[in-house]
């Protein structure tokens, strides 16, 4: 399977081609309230957003507490 390389929170990350942002969330077992940005834009439907080679992805995981 072909791989793509993205930048996740500042670090290189390899993923299978065709991966969505939701796949990336699942890979990190992220169960919290997540906000994801791809190339500086907030993504509202992560399961429909297919990642591409060279994408810059920022994931912020919000958990309760304040």
């Amino acid at each position: 399977m072909k791989e793509i390389t993205i930048k996740l929170n500042g670090k290189d990350e390899k993923l299978p081609e065709g991966s969505t942002l939701a796949d990336l969330y699942a890979k990190y077992k992220a169960v919290n309230r997540i906000v994801g940005e791809v190339n500086g834009e907030i993504v509202y439907e992560p399961s429909k957003h297919v990642l591409e080679d060279g994408d810059v992805v920022e994931i912020v995981s919000f958990v309760g507490g304040g």
């Binding site: 919290n32 309230r33 907030i42 912020v60 995981s61 919000f62 958990v63 309760g64 507490g65 304040g66």
Partner: protein
Amino acid sequence: MDPTNPPRPPSMDKLTGMMFSRQPEEVNQALAGRTVGIIGLGGLGSHVAYMMAKSGVARIIAADFDKVSATNLARQYYMIDQVGLPKTMALEYMLRFLLPDLEFTSHEEKVTAENVVGIFGEADLMFECVDDADTKAMLFEVARTSMSRVPWVFASGMGGAHSASEMKVRQVAANIAVVGDETHPDTEGVTISRVMLAASMQVLTGVRMLMGEEP
């Protein structure tokens, strides 16, 4: 010293000058005349307000819809006889002792995507200090869109009694930093030490952003 004629306290101007004489000059300059906004006055927000007042900021705008409860006292900057008071009012009382010239504007209401700009439009720096994860995420969108001209400091992950070494500061957009471990929620229980650690990291990060430094 003549005990019947004790020395008079220094004037307010002189006092204020003395208060900040040991703080780095670039910090004093970054905070001079500045307004900070604080959303939520719980364990994070009450201590962020305390530290910003101690640091010499000119004005604080704060919003919280809640009242002080007994379960808050082990962790938040309130006193036993303030139980039942709105947190906005309880905090105003506490801040009065910290910085004589501080201007404090409070809103006893829940902050929403609709009212946030109206309440905090004059702020030069924003602190997200709410406890609810969905509200944090909503405010993140505000910080990326309608209020992207000012720096924001978010906090996520300060629950439990995990090591301080798990806490980090991360710049996630040009105007946004997040502090905390991004992992441990308050359902693991909360300690004043870890919540104050997050609040302290928020304040330092926010001041650095006002100084034009990396978070």
